[in-house]
C-alpha cells in the first residue's frame, strides 16, 4: 500500500496530506482508477447495496440505542416510547426493523450471484470465506436484535434458539445456563444480548473491510468468469462507471425499501411481536423472521433419532441432529470453494451446474415456506425432502468436477461483449426487416 506511486493531486492541501499519509492515493487507486470488468450485470450492484445497508443499520441502530432501555422491565416500554414520544422515533425503528430484512435480501442476492458466476473459486476462495463469515455474524446479530424489544416473539425466539445449545452432549445444559446468565431467559440474557447486538455490527464492519481488501487483491469476477487479460479492452475504471451504475441500482433498491418501511412497516413482522414477553404464556406458534425460515425448517424437520437399525440404540437424538443439519447447511457454504474444482467459473458455460444451482435455490425457497408452517402434517416430510435436496446440491457440485463438459468460453471479456453486441444488432436488423 505504501510503496506504490503517489497520485499527483493538484489541490495543495490534499497533496500535502497525501505526501505524509497517502490516503488519497489509496482512495484513488482502490475506488477511482481500480480496473473493473466492463461487463457486469445488475447483480453486481448488491455488494454496494449491502454495504450501504450496513451503514444504515449502524446509524439507525445507534440512534435507537440512545432511547432504548435494555432491561426486562423497561425494554418493551422504551421501544413504545421511541415509537410514540421520540421525535422521528417511529422512522428510526421502522427503518431499522425493515432494514434488517432488506440487508438480508441484498446479501442473499449477493451470495446467489457469487454462486452462479463462480466467484468463490480460485483465486477468490478467501474472499468467499470472509463473505460467509459476514453472513454468519449477520445471522447472530439479527437474532440478537430480534430479542431486544422483549416481545412474546423476542423472548420465546431467544428461548428456542439458545436452547439449541442444550443439544450438545454432556455440557449442553451448562452452556445454556451460561448463555442465559441464569436458569431462564431473563434480564441478564437481555443485557448481554444488547451488549452483543451493539458490538457485532462493528465486527461485521471489520470483516467487510477485509472482504473488500481481498476483493481488491484479486479483482472482481464477472459474468463470463474469465479474468481481465487486457486492462484497456476488458476493464473500465471503477469511478465513474460503477459508482454511477451502483447509484442507480441503489436508488431503486432504497425506493422499494422505503416503500415497505413507510407504507407497510409491519408487513414482515408477526403480530406477537407487539405483545410484551410473558415467560408463562407460550405463543401458539413461534416463528423467526423470514430470512431464517429455511434454516428453521431444516432444524425442525429433523424429528427422528439416528440409531442402529432394528435396535433401540440411539446414537444421536433428533434435537442434536437437527442442530447439526442446520449449522451443517452453512458449513457447506464454507467448504464450497474446496468441493468445486471445475475450471470454469460461470454457470453460463456450465449447463449442468446451472440446473443444480436452480434446484438448490428453489428447494431453499420451499424450505422457507415450510419454516413458516406449523411443524405438523405434511410439512416435516416436505422439509426432510428439500433439506436432502439442499445437501445433495453440494454432492452434485463435487460430482460435476469430472462430469461436466463446459460450453465454449469466449476468448476474453471484450470478445464476449462484442458477441453480445453483434447478437443485439442482428436481432434489431431482424425486427427492422420484418
Amino acid at each position: 500500500m505504501s510503496s506504490s506511486k503517489r497520485f499527483p493531486f493538484k489541490n495543495p492541501v490534499i497533496s500535502w496530506v497525501d505526501e505524509r499519509l497517502p490516503i488519497f492515493t489509496l482512495m484513488h487507486q482502490e475506488y477511482a482508477a481500480f480496473p473493473t470488468p466492463k461487463n457486469f450485470n445488475y447483480l453486481w450492484n448488491f455488494g454496494a447495496i449491502a454495504m450501504v445497508m450496513l451503514v444504515l443499520m449502524i446509524v439507525t441502530g445507534i440512534s435507537l440505542a440512545m432511547s432504548y432501555n435494555p432491561s426486562a422491565d423497561g425494554a418493551f416500554d422504551s421501544v413504545e416510547r421511541i415509537m410514540r414520544d421520540v421525535n422521528g422515533g417511529w422512522m428510526l425503528r421502522y427503518l431499522h426493523m425493515n432494514g434488517a430484512s432488506f440487508f438480508f435480501l441484498a446479501v442473499y442476492v449477493h451470495m446467489f450471484r457469487g454462486m452462479y458466476y463462480g466467484s468463490y473459486k480460485k483465486p477468490r476462495e478467501l474472499l468467499w470465506l470472509l463473505g460467509v463469515t459476514i453472513f454468519l455474524i449477520m445471522m447472530a446479530t439479527a437474532f440478537l436484535g430480534y430479542s431486544l424489544p422483549w416481545s412474546q416473539m423476542s423472548g420465546w425466539g431467544a428461548t428456542v434458539i439458545t436452547s439449541l445449545f442444550s443439544a450438545i452432549p454432556l455440557v449442553g445444559d451448562s452452556i445454556v445456563t451460561w448463555l442465559w446468565g441464569g436458569f431462564s431467559v431473563d434480564n441478564p440474557t437481555l443485557n448481554r444480548f444488547f451488549a452483543l447486538h451493539f458490538t457485532l455490527p462493528f465486527v461485521i464492519f471489520a470483516v467487510v473491510f477485509m472482504h473488500i481488501w481481498a476483493l481488491h487483491i484479486t479483482g472482481s469476477n464477472n459474468p463470463t468468469g474469465i479474468e481481465i487479460q487486457d486492462k484497456k479492452q476488458d476493464s473500465v475504471p471503477f469511478h465513474p462507471y460503477y459508482t454511477i451504475k451502483d447509484s442507480f441500482g441503489l436508488c431503486v433498491f432504497l425506493a422499494v425499501y422505503a416503500a415497505v418501511s413507510f407504507f407497510a412497516p409491519t408487513m414482515l413482522t408477526h403480530a406477537d411481536h407487539f405483545i410484551p414477553f410473558d415467560p408463562l404464556i407460550t405463543p401458539s406458534h413461534i416463528v423467526p423472521e423470514w430470512y431464517f425460515l429455511p434454516f428453521y425448517a431444516m432444524l425442525r424437520s429433523m424429528d427422528f433419532n439416528i440409531g442402529i437399525p432394528w435396535t433401540d440404540i440411539v446414537l444421536m437424538d433428533s434435537k442434536l441432529f437437527g442442530v447439526l443439519v442446520m449449522f451443517g447447511s452453512i458449513a457447506m457454504l464454507f467448504i464450497l470453494p474446496f468441493i468445486d474444482k471445475h475450471p470454469v467459473k460461470s454457470a453460463n458455460y456450465r449447463p449442468r451446474y446451472k440446473i443444480a444451482l436452480f434446484i438448490m435455490v428453489i428447494s431453499f425457497i420451499i424450505l422457507g415456506y415450510v419454516g413458516a408452517m406449523p411443524a405438523e402434517g405434511i410439512w416435516p416430510t416436505v422439509g426432510k425432502i428439500f433439506t436432502a435436496v439442499y445437501f445433495a446440491f453440494f454432492a452434485a457440485v463435487w460430482w460435476l468436477n469430472k462430469h461436466e463438459k463446459p460450453k465454449p468460453l469466449p476468448k476474453s471479456i471484450h470478445a464476449s461483449v462484442l458477441e453480445k453486441n453483434a447478437k443485439k444488432e442482428a436481432a434489431l436488423l431482424k425486427e427492422v426487416e420484418s
Binding site: 451504475k245 436508488c251 413507510f262 407504507f263 407487539f274 405438523e376 402434517g377 410439512w379
Partner: protein, 254 residues
Amino acid sequence: MKIILSLMLAVSIGVPSALASEAAHIEQLDWSFKGITGTYDRASIQRGFQVYRQVCSACHSMDRVAYRNLIDLGYSEDQIKSLASETSVMDGPNDEGDMFERPARPSDYFPNPYANKAQARYTNNGALPPDLSLIAKARTGGADYLYALLTGYDEAPASVTMNEGMNYNKVYAGHQIAMAAPLSDGLVAYANANTPTTTEQYAYDVSNFLQWVAEPSLEAQKRVGLKVVLFLSILAIIMYYVKKRLWAGIKGKK
C-alpha cells in the same frame, strides 16, 4: 409408490388440522387509513373513543396513551383538560410523605381499571383482559380482526359444548372467548343523531380508534414515505440516464 401413499396420507392428515387451527374468514373493510395516502377518520375515532370510555375501559387498560395524545384527534386543549379531570389519579408522595389523589392532567396516562394483574384476573373469572394500547398491531388482521371479533358473537352451534363462563365467537381462535359480547344496539348515545347506534357502527368506530391508538404516527409515515419514495424514484430515473450516457461510449466500442 410408498412415498406417494405416505404423501397422500400426510396431506389428508395435514389439511384438516391446518383448517381447524385457522380462524374463520375475516372480512376486509374499507378503512380510511388504508392505502399509501390513507388518513384517519377523526369523527369515527372520536366516537370510538367514546365507546372505549363508556364500555371497554371498564375492563381493559390502555397504558400507553396519555390525555395529551388526544390533541391528534382534534380535541382542543380545554376539552382535553376537562376530559382528564373527570378521572382522578394517585400522586405523591407530597412534602409530608403522603400519597394523595388529584384530578388527572393532560400529561397523565389513561387510568388502569385494576390495581394489578391478579386483581384483573380475579374480577374476570380468571381471564386477563389485555391492554388495548397495541391490540390492533398485536392481532393478525388488525382492525379487520377487531371488527370481526366485536361483531362475531353468536349462539353456539349445537355441536359445540361451551365451557362455563365462556362465550361463542365466530372468529376467535377456538371460538370460546371469556369476554361477553361487549356491544349491543343503542348501548352508547352518540352526539350526532344521524350516526346509527348499532353494534356494527360501534365496532367500526372502536376498531378505528384502536388502530389510531396502536399506530398514532401512521399519517406521518405515509406523508414522509410518499416524499422519500418520490425523491428516490426521481433520483433513480436521473441516475439511469446518467449511467446510460456515461456507458454509451463503452458498450458500443469495438
